[in-house]
Symmetry: C2
Subunit: 323 residues, 2 copies
């Protein structure tokens, strides 16, 4: 939860600053639009992380717990190396979930670690379900779950990616939960994968495309959450791999922060992302995962040093493109 | 993993029976198309489950662990009460995930409990992501994750619900993993929520609707996984709340088993689901959650007895509709 620091307050009433304004402030302070994507593959962890996990563990510990400890160490090392260049981390939930319960614990631990480094935490979970189930996912990621034994806190992330295929009523529980905590959403509009166009760019009978209709939906539900910065708490995932769509989507969603995955390994180029920044320097968040964490596979040398260098390079480039 | 019992085998080579054939056989043996939906809300658990959790726990145990124990007891009691009437359980992953790591443990425990009762296990997770991440989710639910410390087994469910908004390449890792284990997928085509039409029934420029295009995709990727029963390992989620769409979707997907949520609390009626069964008695799986588990809220009396009665009623009705 975030409360306004400098704005006038009603005594006794804490005012929640919306995610759009929080994001704008954080980007300005850190002079960075870079998001460190953490999608740890246990088969490709930094050697130092394996060593750390091996030092702590014994053979009697089950593989899931040892792998989870190694993933935790890997993420901690990556945050220490590259976090300073970034404004946020994006945690790929699938990569933690595949380690079961120990993986879920490490997801929470990694979110806490990122916060200690002053980073916003984005859970890349792409959840989407009917209302009552969407509300359960919102409790898991953005809120808490009431139980007869006391409330169970959720992950408490600053933003969550969601899938809008089920329509507006499936997004409402997420919007409500996010707004209550000064958190935000990034709704899938145009993803970064090679086959994204198959469904998302289908032409509609009344003009435009599926992704255009999703953009209109994002703009509509984000309206009530638009802050003084001009940024809303409902953003959009727009792949950096489809720069030709970026300008039209920005016009359709003038207040939505864009989460732009696909730079680096997937082929997206920062230089082509300028339309995202038409609404200010926080209008686009550039998510790079393997491009940073696996930079040493291209350059050789120490993984941490290579990650720090590559993060600094993308950050500087983005800051210039956004200027 | 399931291996053919009665079919000819190449010596030393175990042949995997596809999910469509396994489903057809299981429906025939159990004479049921009913799926027990488990979406446990910690605030609405059966009193006996709370008592069981309280008997085992102490105040020093954190709320998440106590709630998870109560959820486990609730699911076990529901399976004991109504499982005999059913062919499968559908575990709503959100409801476990909101309890964090202890919730994930109980998800695995509940899946094992259902298997002990001879039930197929469907994870209702509605995952969908770019290829590399879809592969990670496939490891979590259908396969295992290789790590330097040994493989970490996934949940090993018989079927998983997936979201196709990202297109064909996002579904491939799921299909591959499922086929390798005789498991199946249920792809969202037309969901049961009130606002489902907003995106899914948008008219396309080249005719039909988004859900029609998704149905064509399901039919295409399911082709290679169609068994002797005529059922494929790639099914579709089609809400029981849109019976007017059912006939057209069945024609578009003649081999797909349909998972039909929305009966009961959401307003769907079993009597209107006949088109699902045009390809045989296993062509439609009727998922009922609150309708069974919360039946006592309508009828009064013991939750277990009310659940057993309501499950038997829906099962008999469905078997007649399918005949």
């Amino acid at each position: 939860m975030a409360f306004t620091e400098g704005s006038p307050r009603v005594p006794g009433v804490e005012q929640i600053t919306g995610f759009g304004d929080r994001l704008a402030e954080r980007v300005a302070v850190r002079e960075s639009q870079l998001v460190l994507g953490l999608d740890p593959d246990p088969a490709r962890l930094w050697p130092a992380a394996i060593r750390r996990a091996q030092a702590n563990g014994t053979v009697a510990v089950p593989p899931a717990m040892r792998a989870a400890r190694a993933v935790a160490a890997h993420c901690a090392l990556a945050i220490e190396a590259a976090g300073e260049q970034c404004v946020a981390v994006k945690l790929q939930v699938a990569c933690f979930e595949r380690l079961g319960a120990p993986g879920w614990s490490v997801l929470a631990e990694t979110a806490a670690r990122a916060r200690e480094h002053g980073l916003l935490v984005i859970a890349d979970a792409k959840r989407g379900d009917i209302g009552v189930t969407a509300a359960a996912y919102a409790q898991a990621f953005l809120d808490e779950t009431p139980t007869p034994f006391g409330p169970v806190p959720g992950l408490g992330v600053d933003a969550l990616t969601v899938n809008p295929l089920l329509g507006r009523d499936s997004l409402e529980p997420f919007t409500t939960a996010a707004r209550g905590h000064g958190s935000g959403l990034f709704v899938l509009v145009r993803t970064s994968n090679p086959g994204a166009a198959e469904v998302q760019e289908r032409a509609l009978a009344d003009g435009g495309s599926v992704s255009g209709a999703l953009a209109a939906l994002v703009d509509e539900i984000g309206f009530a959450g638009t802050g003084r910065s001009g940024l809303s708490d409902v953003g959009a995932v727009v792949g950096a791999t489809a720069p030709d769509r970026l300008h039209a989507l920005r016009e359709r969603m003038p207040h939505a922060p864009f989460l732009l995955p696909g730079v680096g390994a997937q082929g997206g180029r920062v230089e082509e992302l300028a339309p995202a920044f038409m609404c200010g320097p926080a209008g686009g968040l550039i998510a790079a995962s393997r491009g940073i964490v696996a930079a040493h596979e291209q350059t050789g040398g120490d993984p941490a040093a290579a990650a720090a260098r590559e993060a600094a390079r993308i950050r500087d480039l983005a800051w210039r493109v956004a200027a």
